[in-house]
Symmetry: C2
Subunit: 442 residues, 2 copies
């Protein structure tokens, strides 16, 4: 949608809201619909080609308003998570609309998704061990629980361990910054021999530092064999898996118990919207089900409905699936795929500019929209370069450490980025680099 | 703002956003401002009388845009939490702008605020005990930790205990559904004698079931004496404390370590916006501080800035303080006070209608906007009444249990509610009651 259509549609929406508020006394306080009303009213999958804005708005009045906030908010979320799961070709076990026991939920952030997965895994292993040995206390078990992630995993994984009160151990990644079978197996073996209880592994697809990928096809079977919960954190990279040419990066998801990525990062859905799927929803809801009278309702034991409050940390929820519905329909799957492809192409364009300049080096394989690069030379000169670039305020780069190397990260992430922006940025970086190298020689 | 002004202003906002997007390349990618730039630019307290919409919009361009999303998002939040804290007459120790060590943060929900408080308290007591006895493991301590709340506390408190992996015990409330000194003291004494470690108490001001108030002036000193973290959950009732005539309900907050209420419940700020203050921000941030390179920034050790990511479960944040800024200025403190007073007056109007009908009884003291009532008689007849009311779909009531009694709850909560609505609702309830009583006699 260009700015001129945005002006027109935005103003129509303002009128829609005002009309709603002016006419609110004419509306019923409680919907007439039955649980499950929504799914038959909308297509089973996201459209390939864009829908018109008119069609979407008409559907709001026809499909959402009769279901008010509840159950429409819940039911649209369940169906949108199925649409998105299908776009990623997730195994059917993760989808709510199939016969399986899985389903999706929108969390606020990948941090919350990792925490919920860890808590569910913790509860599950405690119940299992207490069923075998009723004399074991929760604390005695928790003292021995160990979670694992690669040494490249996001800090939120460590935080989930701290909150959950369990040990988290970092598995050394390989030369491509990926977690591999051998290192994980070694840790599991060592810890089990020491009497500890491995219960949870986080595999990262698209690390924050350099967008590396843990080896799911190696790690997954080990987790299954050891009966350890496998959670996949694909916060950034997940959006790319809607493109067939990137889907292979998700191979091995069939071994996972839970999977998460953030459509708010790279799928044009405004913050916040973090998509999480589980293979067995009972694992999540079983962990914290509490049903006081003021939260009971007549449908809760029907099996037809989803109570998302059991799937997350907060109780209240916003209607975030509306954002997904609008975006998926306004762009169509093909439009979203083009958007991803353009970003990946632009990052390769930047990569090739860097590779043509012998003063620079590429520090990690460029797979999606992130390029890790640096001046050949000391960390000091690269820190000076970053400082100079960010002080000039024409572009902004966020650095990282890869092993002992200080590395600059060029991230393609704007909705409106074009090749011209990449070219201008590179010219600017070269200029700043020349200044830094000059200063160093003086 | 009436619907016609909303139409005009809403459309101006759409144009503002479109202009912003069209002109975005002309803007600097990183702000020129220094940490702390924002506080001197805005008044030290919320206005008593409403500001005009023009004034507010002009301030957006003048005050927010130069600070972009960061640091404006953080700094406005800190100042808005100080404004709101002053409106509640919170002790200065809770305010960030004073010399103290405290401050406020916006959480998504009261559930998250309670959880963060419990986790901070858990970390603090573990550190304390390990400092005294380094041989103690975290698990050995956690096994003995006990948190407490009234038997009327919200289910999210129990959930925080489950997530935190600690015991939570319910303190029997008194005849007014309030937690009192004697019952708490008895529990503390019994548990300490059994070798357990009390570390956390949640006092509720305005319970979900019947809007009862734990006795802070009794409970607070006990917590301080026993060196137990006191968290106050005033999710609903907190908004009322901006009125001098209701502020006494908050007396005793000076004994608390953390305090929380939801402006999204009753202070006209749209969901979500849960306001939490702590007396010592280091207790919160110390619990989970993690600083990977990609999250470091040049100001982080300056002492001038607040990193809210250490204050909460998620990492990412939305610019929720803008909602507070707009609402506080559009209404002024007096406008917000009038809004609260009107709701309380309408609930007393409903209470008096109920009291005039000898078939009904009031089940708990009416203090704010909630009236708990029922037909004198069996739970069965009251369940039938609720069922009939909610099936008719003219109004909607959420019930609760008070001890063994099934109780109906009449909640004043709409922005546009008037006396006429209360009257219509009461006529409708009487009609439904007559039908139910008739059916019972047949």
């Amino acid at each position: 949608m260009n700015a001129s259509e945005f002006r027109r549609r935005g103003k129509e929406m303002v009128d829609y809201v005002a009309n709603y508020l002016e006419g609110i006394e004419g509306r019923q306080v409680y919907p007439d619909v039955e649980p499950g009303y929504l799914r038959p009213l909308i297509p089973a999958a996201a459209p390939q080609e864009p829908d018109t804005f008119e069609d979407i708005i008409n559907d709001i009045e026809k499909i959402i308003m009769p279901g008010a906030a509840s159950p429409a908010c819940t039911e649209l979320e369940t169906v949108m998570m199925d649409w998105l799961g299908q776009m990623l070709e997730l195994p059917e076990a993760f989808l709510a609309g199939k016969a399986g026991e899985g389903g999706g939920v929108i969390q606020g952030s990948a941090s919350e998704a990792t925490l919920m997965a860890l808590l569910a895994a913790r509860t599950k292993v405690i119940h299992q061990l207490q069923a075998e040995s009723p004399e074991l206390t929760q604390a005695a078990i928790m003292e021995k629980l160990v979670a694992y992630s690669s040494d490249q995993a996001h800090s939120s994984v460590e935080r989930a361990g701290l909150i959950g009160g369990v040990k988290l151990k970092a598995i050394p990644s390989d030369g491509n910054f990926a977690m591999r079978a051998s290192a994980l197996q070694e840790a599991l073996k060592r810890d089990k021999a020491a009497g500890l209880i491995p219960f949870f592994v986080v595999a990262t697809l698209g690390t924050t530092t350099c967008c590396s990928f843990d080896n799911l096809l190696e790690v997954g079977p080990i987790c299954n064999k050891e009966d350890v919960w496998l959670h996949i954190d694909a916060a950034y990279a997940g959006s790319a898996f809607i493109c067939p040419e990137f889907r292979h990066l998700l191979n091995g998801v069939e071994f996972a118990d839970s999977f998460n990525f953030n459509p708010h990062k790279w799928l044009l859905v405004n913050f916040d919207c973090s998509a999480m799927w589980v293979k067995k929803r009972a694992d999540l809801t079983g962990a914290f089900r509490l049903d006081p009278t003021y939260l009971k309702h007549s449908h809760q034991d029907s099996g037809f409905i989803t109570d998302y409050r059991h799937w997350q940390i907060p109780l209240g929820r916003r209607f975030r699936s509306l954002k997904m519905w609008f975006v998926f329909r306004m762009y169509g799957v093909k439009g979203l795929q083009s958007y991803i492809r353009k970003h990946v192409q632009l990052s390769h364009e930047f990569e090739s500019l860097v590779r043509q300049d012998p003063r620079f080096e590429i520090c990690a394989e460029v797979t999606l929209g992130l390029v890790c690069f640096r001046l050949k030379g000391s960390n000091k000169v690269n820190e000076a370069l970053l400082q100079r670039i960010n002080s000039a305020k024409k572009i902004h780069l966020v650095p990282c450490h890869l092993r002992d190397k200080f590395v600059l990260r060029f991230a393609i992430c704007s909705r409106t980025v074009e090749s011209a922006h990449v070219q201008v940025a590179w010219e600017h970086i070269k200029e700043m680099a020349a200044d830094v190298l000059q200063a160093e020689m003086e």
